[in-house]
Symmetry: C3
Subunit: 337 residues, 3 copies
């Protein structure tokens, strides 16, 4: 007799076949995902293709495919997070991994344990993959260079948020096709945005024309000036109405409210008047041009309610795709010691 559960189990077993039998040429040998700056175009393509297969898994009646059974994933978050931590946790669990969550509060971190010591300890405990968010730029690099756990950067300071970059590429491409030659505008507080930096890397690698826009006080001075901060060359435009002209897509950044206190912005009202992504402005973009936002949104500040919840908005789709993209990375990294 075949029980429904047994059927569910066999259904959940199978990973789509093109993933289980990858061609030799497409082997994956990247042990850490720290930023997109050193990703090859081929690696990015492989992640996006694998994410397609993962979306198939997530669309099943029993959306589980325990290819990572026996794998221990530790999320180590030194900053608050809902969506990113939960997204990684679910990605791991869908693939059958065990996930252990550690946050700065309630951990040895409070005892002043060094980051390197923490990472070595977690590896010694048996963590195979370390998902790490840290307020200091570069912290995940330190983690990756000590001990042999595989490290995924879930956001470090203002520096990088590579899985957000990948899910943005994935979402964008599903809507506007190949990014080569497409005009993509990133608008907002670029200086303090790790999302912006990872997006710039990813978009540039896939051949998009990246236009960066925001008040001069929130744009890195060196941007667009001959790779001085190592970022790819982008177009800088402080007038959003000009920037959005003919855009194929607009990526909105979250305006951190705490920037106000730093004197970098005269007022929220001023910011909204000049840089809010709203329908009037989106009219100047290509017809149907989509709008992305990494969330959480400040409705009515950097984005209007109508756009955030309207037909152009890919915001919820970004969240959904985030699980698939993170599953893809965890799956691709599975064989690496």
């Amino acid at each position: 007799m075949t029980s429904p559960l047994r059927e569910a189990r066999s259904r959940e077993t199978a990973i789509p076949v093109h993933l289980t039998e990858p061609s030799g040429a497409r082997e994956w040998d990247r042990r850490h995902v720290l930023d997109l700056d050193d990703f090859s175009v081929s690696e990015i393509e492989q992640v996006l293709e694998t994410a397609d297969a993962m979306k198939e898994v997530l669309a099943r009646d029993v959306p589980r495919a325990p290819a990572l059974r026996g794998t221990t994933i530790v999320t180590l978050f030194y900053e608050a997070s809902t969506r990113t931590r939960a997204s990684f946790e679910l990605a791991g669990k869908v693939l059958g991994a065990d996930v252990i969550n550690l946050t700065a509060s309630g951990s040895s971190v409070e005892k002043g344990e060094s980051l390197i010591d923490t990472v070595r300890t977690l590896r010694a405990i048996g963590a195979h993959v370390l998902i790490m968010r840290h307020p200091m730029s570069g912290a995940p690099y330190l983690a990756a260079s000590h001990g042999d756990a595989r490290v995924v950067n879930a956001g470090d300071g203002w520096h990088a948020h590579p899985t957000q970059g990948l899910l943005d590429l994935y979402t964008l491409r599903n809507h506007i096709g190949s990014l080569a030659g497409k005009r993509v505008v990133i608008v907002g507080d670029v200086t303090h945005s790790r999302v912006a930096r990872s997006d710039i890397w990813g978009l540039s690698k896939l051949g998009a024309e990246v236009v960066v826009c925001g008040p001069p006080t929130l744009l890195p001075a060196e941007l667009g000036r001959d790779h001085e901060d190592g970022l790819p060359l982008v177009t800088v435009e402080t007038d959003f109405d000009k920037a959005v002209q003919g855009a194929d897509a607009v990526m909105t950044l979250r305006l951190q409210q705490e920037r106000m206190t730093g004197g970098l912005l005269p007022s929220l009202r001023e910011y909204s008047r000049l840089y809010q992504v709203n329908e009037a402005r989106m009219e100047k973009a290509r017809p149907g041009a989509p709008v992305l936002h990494p969330g959480p949104i400040n409705e009515g500040v950097e984005i209007s309610a109508a756009v955030a919840h309207g037909a152009r908005s890919l915001i919820e789709e970004q969240v959904t795709n985030g699980v698939a993209v993170r599953m893809a990375l965890l799956y691709l990294m599975r064989g690496l010691k």
Copy 2:
């Protein structure tokens, strides 16, 4: 060769048969559990019967029945909790669901994300069921009306705690049989008690005579006065010695210590002298009348140690039944999209 594990697996597979083959008439179509005010008697009965089956599961050697494999449950708690959160988490895990825990601290909530945005995000991540506790009355309703996750209210402000209400009904009925015509006294700080409100709804629906008792400062003014706050008509009695006369059961409420500072009570001693549930008072109730308390108890304040740990006390049984009742709800809601 049959391994012990395989046997354990097949044993754990089966849900008692009357649950797997429900009669068509008993289909469940409630997507959210927000309060008991809109539960039909038939729905309450169905939960209590299903809870019986779940207790069978919990009594097994391997108390697991993964009927919810592939289901993602998120607990979203904006208030401290031991028993309720752990009870839901275990209920989910016993049924094979994956459970992701989020608390207000350590989540995007700290970034000022709106509740609606959080709920939409969690749904987009893949949460099927959202178990939510919030200090503001009505918050779970907001959550239920945005996005399509199934929402279970695990306590909202002073408003409702429906799973506590259901487990109280279940526990009570196991001890005193049908509640129709039974005199059930709810004693304590009714004004600030979401447990009291859900108990009043549940008890009234099942035909009990509800007597509400406490100091006038801790009783809602409109209680017993013609449905003014929407609650069913109950008997109000500020003299506990009168209220307990002939009672079939007494439900004690926790006295929130912080009420003292609000000037609503002269002193703990005064409160205990007049309203403590102790043996002397319980002598006036029907012989063997049981005492319930939602916990955690203030021993020696609203309840004496002798009663709390004596033969009348159903306190630990309430906790145990809580898991079965929550399993029942999660199980009944499983098929709803």
Copy 3:
């Protein structure tokens, strides 16, 4: 057709046979692990042998052996911890148990619930095993004596940390063989160290000669003076250069930085000059004598970087063994009601 997953499942099913068929003489009947003071030598041996089998499990491709499926473990931590909590959580998950984590913040503890009430509640919810850390010495004893959950002490005040003691014994014995007659030096802040107390018990039971060393202000006055505080008789030596002479192993304790403020130490520099475990001092020990530390280390304070990361250091191995030893205990306790 045999799927890879099915193979993984059958591989993970088997516990090494000498564990599944224990001789009758080796039955385990200890329901709680509170300290090592009342462990028999035979019990210690049984834990260490079982830990060997657990290391075999951890070395597999799919390091999972779900012998505890259906078991609910609750970790209840009233103090910060990374390694101990994660180690127990992983130990439980490797064996297929469900693990629910509770911390003091975010739990009913904030509502002033008594420890006994919390423990009873968790047992009533269905917790089979309670892993508990508490700042008050003796708290796990209180937990063990109320309700019938099995209790494992994961550290209580300055009193005991028995699983650390057992993993230290296990690690040490893997490196220097039988401990009978071996000279083992424990150096540091013994007064405030629960690790030291459990190590003293464990080492003494296995016949080691225990030398305790540290500044007089950080040594319990009664140590070495005829069992006054109940600990076994040890040698006390305030001069570390003498203590380390001919030592077979050195166990370093963490120097709690907060001790400085208590006026117990003149300065970190002074402490390091006299008591730091460094290569120069270790030259006086037996050739190759290993160094242990419970972590997290204060590099350059109680231990030099060269020793901590050098060939003598067993620090990471201790962490790894910690998972195996905790699995062993959970496995041995599995049958107890």
